[in-house]
Amino acid sequence: MSEGKDRGGFYDTGWQPAGDVHRDEDGRPHDHPGLQEDVVLGVRASRALAMHELLVEKGVIGGHDVDDAIELWSERVPSNGATLVAKAWVDPEFKARLLEHPKETVVESGFVPEHNADIIVLENTSTVQHMVVCTLCSCYPTALLGPPPDWYKSFSYRSRAVTEPRAVMSEFGLELEEDVEVRVVDSNSELRFLVLPRRPAGTEGWSEERLATLVTRDSMIGVSAPLSPDSVQN
């Protein structure tokens, strides 16, 4: 891990909008606005940046379009999903609606599903644990959880989630009882999954806001449980 600070799945790289890169006389970007200049620019990275510049120059896209989209992405964070989970924990009617009409409920809650994809919410119980993978690539409910973490996109997770989900959960610190049934679901571009984890014991009377602090990204992917109430400062 480098100096990036975890902000619930986002990493702060000190990024600045690239719309107006200042350049020295010889054309090198300087100061900090714009792109990092202290990294080695690989072939695919340079081709991505080249395409962006060319598309802007040709007027195919606007000079600030990409910055606007980056701003949009910054609003996609795991706390979005956590608010839904916490509300479902305290409001049985909301929970029933979230499970029966998940996409409508997500939209009514103010979130915009990526690619207009459908969503299914899967409830974990004392006897069933759900775990989400995208074996083909990285499909994920980004509107509710932000961009998927590196491990979700890794070859090892995509392979092993299918064959040995219990071993994978164990690596994330979750040891399931033998009699708990494990259901692994495979996402695709039209259908994404959000796991509704079990409400931790010892949280009776907690507010939604306080409960939401226990709901981790990984618990909504189903590889781990929410935080325990005594692990957070009150």
């Binding site: 990024w15 340079s46 395409m51 962006h52 990409v66 083909l136 996109k153 392979s159 299918v162 994330f172």
Partner: protein, 103 residues
């Protein structure tokens, strides 16, 4: 043998690396460039996937996630005649010179 992207159940006991890499600016830009192209009706998520799944298996396994996105975006834009390989070659070379590394 399944295609290279079809990873479910491939034999491996490699532990899950849970460390998150720090995103480079170009990776954020590439993610959002794809979003913008989608908004403009120029490249949807299925086209992104088709491009990624067309990458040579060796390259697929040796490149990073957003490097594969970059390759797919290029494949799509060149196929649609929006950009040419030559102009991307030329601009990418100029960018690498500007950065002062051989890339």
């Amino acid at each position: 043998m399944p295609a290279v992207h079809d990873r479910g159940g491939w034999p491996t006991d490699e532990p899950i690396d849970r460390q998150e890499h720090e995103w480079a600016d170009w990776e954020r830009q590439t993610q959002s460039l794809r979003t913008v192209l989608d908004q403009k009706g120029m490249m949807n998520v299925d086209e992104l996937r088709r491009g990624i799944e067309s990458i040579d298996p060796g390259e697929y396994e040796s490149t990073t996630y957003f490097e594969r996105w970059s390759a797919s975006i290029e494949m799509n834009l060149v196929e649609k005649g929006v950009l040419t390989t030559e102009e991307i070659d030329e601009r990418a070379a100029a960018l690498r010179d500007r950065w002062g590394n051989p890339g």
